[in-house]
């Protein structure tokens, strides 16, 4: 009973996924009862999942990062350029991950040192990095044919046992590491307290500025990982990389039950949220409806879930206040 009480949001969102899947399986059995659609999901959803699980920690801290999509493009560019120049995919990946982490850390420093709200600072950085990457690339796509022949590429996005996209395993490992950080490290615990009440966290002696800056660097690392994997999967880098991820990532986080106000959330909830966001489009199209319904249903799902969580939280507060 304790397990159910302590994890009811996670269980609920998992149930929503099961209901949604059952609905699509009934409406479009030819698609949802065949293996090929799941291979597609496993090759595309991980890019959202990786960023969304890291974004969970940012939102739990009471912050927001709207620049991760540009970071994906920028660190993807660093990866593409370094790989091409050096001929080493691994060196390129290391450079891309370092660039992404540094961009994230710069966000964190800007926010903690100047006190500019994250939403404003990261909008600024979004423009800045997108502009930078456009200037560096002249706005043109880079074709990376050499990736197909590199054994390192298989390590990142190959097909395990000939079928399972490796990026799905990377996403799974990343989500597990993020969950471990969140639930079982002092840093993860500090983030919860900072999100709950930043002043109280300071008074408790928690390293508020370092923890906040660190969580942006962690998201930067995740954005870079996602950008690099997407570049490898597509076999080319393009300057608008990351566009379209913003709403999907935030929707995954909020559908998963992370509080809009900070202080609480779960990596599992976000993981399931990203899967829900990933299957909605395929489910709608394969059920015979127009693709125009996709955004409508995405929006409806997000609104329903955040309203539900907000009302549940309000009820809890009412109960607490008698």
């Amino acid at each position: 009973m304790n397990f159910i009480r302590n994890n009811k949001n996670q269980l609920l969102i998992t149930l929503v996924l099961a209901v949604l899947w059952s609905f699509f399986a009934l409406k479009a059995p030819q698609a949802f009862l065949s293996g090929s659609i799941y291979m597609t999901f496993l090759s595309t959803i991980p890019f959202i999942t990786i960023v969304a699980t890291a974004m969970t920690l940012v939102v739990v801290t009471g912050e927001m990062d709207l620049s991760f999509a540009s970071n994906m493009a920028m660190s993807g560019f660093v990866f593409a350029w370094t790989s091409q120049t050096s001929g080493s995919v691994l060196l390129g990946a290391a450079a891309g991950l370092a660039a992404g982490s540094c961009i994230g850390a710069l966000n964190g420093l800007m926010i903690t040192v100047t006190g500019v709200p994250a939403i404003v600072a990261t909008i600024g950085f979004d423009f800045f990095w997108r502009g930078t990457v456009m200037l560096l690339s002249n706005g043109t796509t880079r074709t990376l044919e050499f990736l197909n022949s590199s054994p390192s590429t298989a390590f990142f996005i190959g097909r395990v046992c000939g079928v399972l996209p490796a990026q799905s395993l990377w996403a799974l490992v990343f989500a597990m590491v993020t969950a471990l950080i969140y639930h079982r490290t002092s840093w993860g615990d500090d983030l919860r307290f900072i999100g709950d009440d930043r002043e109280a966290a300071k008074m408790l002696g928690l390293p508020v500025s370092a923890a906040r800056a660190g969580v942006f660097a962690y998201l930067g690392f995740a954005a870079a990982l996602s950008g690099i994997l997407a570049t490898m999967e597509m076999g080319n880098w393009w300057p608008t990389q990351g566009d379209g991820y913003l709403l999907l990532v935030f929707a995954s986080v909020f559908i998963g039950g992370t509080s809009v106000y900070g202080g609480s959330g779960t990596v599992w909830g976000t993981f399931v949220g990203s899967v829900i966001m990933g299957i909605i489009e395929a489910g709608i199209v394969s059920s015979g409806w127009s693709g125009f319904w996709t955004r409508f249903v995405d929006g409806l799902t997000l609104l329903a879930s955040v309203s539900f969580y907000a009302l549940a939280s309000k009820k809890k507060r009412w109960t607490a206040n008698g």
Partner: protein, 245 residues
């Protein structure tokens, strides 16, 4: 009783605002000291210096006779100073076990939080505070506790970590009568364990019911200090009114 804390000629300025203007202050072991004064008298600034949140502009702070040279909450905690803030005693969304060990987790050999050990310790603290009967468990979010229970938990945390100086900032403000009783009782228990308690309050009545010594601050200076002997609640109130003139 020996002094565990001494402050000598402590000044604290924020730009042109002088919050403390040369304060000499002390706390003794096994004693409850009430710090009284009007808004802006410097009570909270004094408490925040002892807590490590602020460094004094000048003057000395000594704990056990040794001068404090580093001012941070973490360092103050290491020296045995714990502060319980009225509104900010706990993280409301967090379960009690996380609240009790925030910033000082029990870790396993991999450096990861040992949740099982922390929950067990939290259950023991909850039982010692007599809250188990109220359906409070280590997994209960702080949000679901009453104001008095939250203060109690924060005081329990201080006791668990063997704090020698416990500072309570307006612990009874906005609490119902029954809740005030609980908090005053928690203070008496801390004193019985031989620890030093400093309570900042606007309520002369609440201070009078628990404190052994009363210090009145006015405009950043000590207006006066008195022991309970030879004093009445009425005369204490008169001194407070005089200080505020």
């Amino acid at each position: 009783m020996s002094n565990i804390l001494e402050m000598r000629a402590v000044r604290k300025s924020f730009g042109s605002v002088h919050a403390l203007r040369g304060v000499d202050f002390s706390l003794a072991e096994g004693e409850i000291t009430a710090l009284l004064g009007d808004n802006g008298a410097g009570k909270s600034t004094l408490a925040k210096i002892i807590s490590g949140l602020y460094a004094p502009t000048s003057g000395q702070v000594l704990i056990d006779g040794a001068q404090v040279t580093k001012f941070s909450v973490k360092h103050a905690r290491q020296l045995g100073v714990e502060t319980v803030y009225q509104d900010r005693a706990l993280g409301y969304s967090q379960p009690l076990w996380r609240n009790l060990f925030a910033g000082r987790h029990l870790t396993n050999c991999f450096g990861l939080i040992n949740a099982a050990a922390e929950k067990q310790a939290a259950a023991d603290i909850i039982a010692q505070l007599g809250l188990s009967g109220a359906g409070v468990s280590p997994d209960t979010p702080a949000l679901l506790l009453s104001g008095g229970e939250r203060q109690g938990l924060a005081i329990g945390r201080a006791m668990h970590f063997k704090a020698r100086i416990v500072i309570l900032d307006e612990p009874t403000t906005a609490l119902a009568v029954g809740e005030v009783e609980k908090v005053l009782d928690f203070m008496r228990r801390v004193k019985q364990e031989g620890r030093s308690v400093m309570v900042i309050t606007h309520s002369v009545e609440h201070a009078w019911r628990v404190a052994d010594r009363f210090v009145v601050l006015s405009h950043g200076k000590i207006f006066g200090e008195w022991r309970r002997q030879g004093l009445t609640a009425g005369s204490l109130l008169e001194k407070l009114i005089e200080a505020e003139k």
